[in-house]
């Protein structure tokens, strides 16, 4: 594994959703210096025919439906190119889940830091999304866990804490999450569990 952490964008592909003009030519020039290949597209953008690792877009003239993905769910980092700071425009850009922005006129200074920030923000958001999905999943499985807990309490005539300890260690032994294990627990298995737990205790 490489331990060289200096940001390097060599080989990345950028799509620039903007009318071609001097700003865009300067941006493309600088992306080229950073090893990024860019394609200018306006307004029809198709990810299949123009694959992208990041997307720049015109924050001043962008509109809903410009992007080939559901609103606010970009699959790659999004960078807004803006000159208008009208609150309505900023609100629209934020609603697209923009990772960073560059102010027009675009200069060579600022592009590198914007890319570093955009990639970091995007990665962080992805990570948070994954965490949120995991947590949501756990919450939605709460009734399942609750049912399993009751089953163990009932089969073994146990207090809630003792029943939960059995459930947790059984899930761990099976290398499953508590939710997963709980969803497969039926009456027979619960009795089996309680018995083997008592046997362990007896041996100890």
């Amino acid at each position: 594994m490489s331990v060289f952490r200096t940001p390097n964008f060599r080989g990345d592909r950028a799509v620039i959703l903007h009318r071609p003009d001097d700003n865009i030519r300067r941006l493309e020039r600088h992306l080229d210096r950073l090893g990024i290949e860019s394609t200018v597209v306006w307004p029809d953008f198709n990810m299949d025919s123009t694959p992208a690792d990041l997307v720049f877009f015109d924050g001043d003239n962008g509109y809903d439906g410009l992007f080939p993905w559901s609103k606010g769910n970009p699959p790659v980092p999004l960078i807004a190119l803006i000159s208008s700071e009208a609150p309505g425009r900023l609100e629209w850009m934020l609603s697209q889940e923009t990772s960073a922005h560059l102010i027009k006129p675009i200069q060579s200074s600022g592009v590198f830091s914007t890319l570093v920030i955009a990639y970091a923000n995007f990665a962080k958001r992805q990570e948070q999304q994954t965490q949120i999905r995991t947590l949501e999943n756990r919450i939605s499985n709460r009734p399942v866990v609750f049912r399993a807990l009751l089953l163990i309490m009932e089969c073994g005539q146990l207090e809630d804490e003792a029943a939960f300890a059995i459930l947790r260690s059984a899930a761990m032994n099976n290398r499953q999450s508590i939710e997963e294990f709980a969803s497969r627990l039926d009456h027979n298995k619960a009795i089996e569990l309680v018995n083997s737990f008592s046997a362990d205790k007896g041996m100890a």
Partner: protein, 399 residues
């Protein structure tokens, strides 16, 4: 009467790092004088000298003056990255062109700057490629507390980590501080293979002197055992360091006075006619000279000092300079430069160690840097792809 074109020369010739500023200025002035005396240039370059005196607050005001009052579209100047960053917005606002001649930490590519000094793939990377196989991969990092030291040391840290080495310590000093004793003690305790010195000015001189003093009682502090290496120490600072203290330590530079090429010998003969042979000629002097020549050549080609035309006249052509053959890239605005590693040999300047003399294309964002290949090179794993100069007979294999 030839038409006159004003050229700003913005260097601190008093105050901190004045030795470097003076050399840059003197080199540029020598080239301007030659151009003005040469009828093949149908213009005169009139130098407008501004001296910020090492005071960071003066740079913006003086740049504004050069651009507005003196009508300079071209400014050759600034040594430190702080001062370059300070003047960049002013230069951009007036659409001027800054010619920056010093080595720097990279990660910049401004449309209004021409970079003629070395960036990391032309200094720290080749320096490490040569020094690590010889001395080992345990490094002590030091620097003055600003972006040059921080960034060059950060790159050094990544290079060292990627080849399995170790950073034995990292310490910074504020500007002008000579409080280097703690560094000496850390070095004594941690016994690195070599020291990377990114201190500047008086702090840097103090380090060499304290190291030298320590060497009188502890052999570890001798350059043959643990050299201090630098990416910006040149001939112009040796006397100030003290020749005895500087002796034996290493520096990387696109130029050393002892360079034995016909271009350099011819150049030095011209310099010695103008000033005492006792004053050494440094890379700062030569790069000031070469840069003023690039400018003159580009104006000659463009027939104007308009900056876009000048860029067209400048890029992607070869220049014969005392540094050897150089070229400035239209893509990065950076010069392709050779590198040499020199060992300080008292008043004689630098003894040039075997190293490659072909110019290396600048890669200011280290886009094409390959950490795996670097590790292979310094760990001597793949001898086939290792340049022969990296395998001297006394090479120690570092595992």
């Amino acid at each position: 009467m030839r038409r006159e074109i004003p050229v700003g020369l913005l260097y601190s010739t008093t105050g901190a790092y004045n030795l470097i500023g003076q050399d840059c200025l003197d080199g540029a002035l020598m080239a301007l004088e030659e151009v003005n005396a040469n009828p093949s240039y149908d213009f005169q370059l009139s130098p407008k000298i501004a001296n910020p005196g090492g005071n960071i607050d003066e740079y913006q005001r003086l740049t504004e003056e050069l651009l507005r009052k003196d009508h300079c579209k071209q400014i050759i100047g600034t040594v430190t990255s702080i001062s370059r960053k300070e003047v960049t917005p002013i230069i951009e606002k007036h659409d001027g062109l800054l010619w920056y001649t010093a080595p720097y930490e990279g990660f910049e590519c401004c449309e209004n700057i021409i970079y003629t000094g070395a960036c990391p793939n032309q200094h720290i990377v080749p320096m490490f490629e040569q020094v690590i196989p010889e001395f080992g991969n345990k490094v002590y990092l030091t620097g003055t507390n600003y972006v040059w030291g921080w960034e060059v040391n950060r790159i050094a840290r990544e290079l060292i980590t990627s080849c399995g080495g170790e950073i034995t310590g990292e310490n910074y000093l504020p500007f002008h501080s000579t409080d280097v004793e703690r560094m000496i003690e850390t070095i004594r305790e941690t016994r690195p293979s070599f020291i990377l010195n990114n201190l500047i000015d008086s702090s840097s001189y103090a380090l060499y002197r304290a190291f030298y003093s320590a060497g009188k009682t502890d052999d570890f502090f001798r350059p043959e055992n643990c050299p201090i290496i630098s990416c910006n120490i040149t001939e112009c600072e040796l006397e100030e360091i003290g020749y005895d203290a500087a002796e034996g330590h290493l520096s990387i530079s696109p130029y050393f006075e002892n360079l034995n090429t016909s271009e350099n010998i011819h150049f030095l003969n011209k310099v010695y006619k103008k000033r005492s042979k006792k004053r050494p000629v440094s890379a700062f002097f030569v790069n000031g000279y070469a840069t003023a020549y690039y400018l003159a050549e580009a104006i000659k080609e463009a027939h104007t000092d308009d900056i876009e035309a000048i860029k067209n006249g400048l890029f992607n052509r070869k220049f014969q300079t005392p540094l050897g053959e150089t070229e400035i890239s239209s893509k990065t605005h950076h010069a392709a430069l050779p590198y040499y590693i020199g060992r300080i040999k008292s008043q004689e300047g630098f003894e040039i160690l075997p190293s490659r003399s072909q110019a290396i294309t600048a890669d200011p964002y280290l886009v094409n840097f390959d950490a795996t290949q670097f590790a292979k090179n310094v760990n001597n794993i793949d001898l086939v792809s290792t340049p022969s100069h990296l395998t001297p007979p006394h090479l120690k294999v570092v595992k």
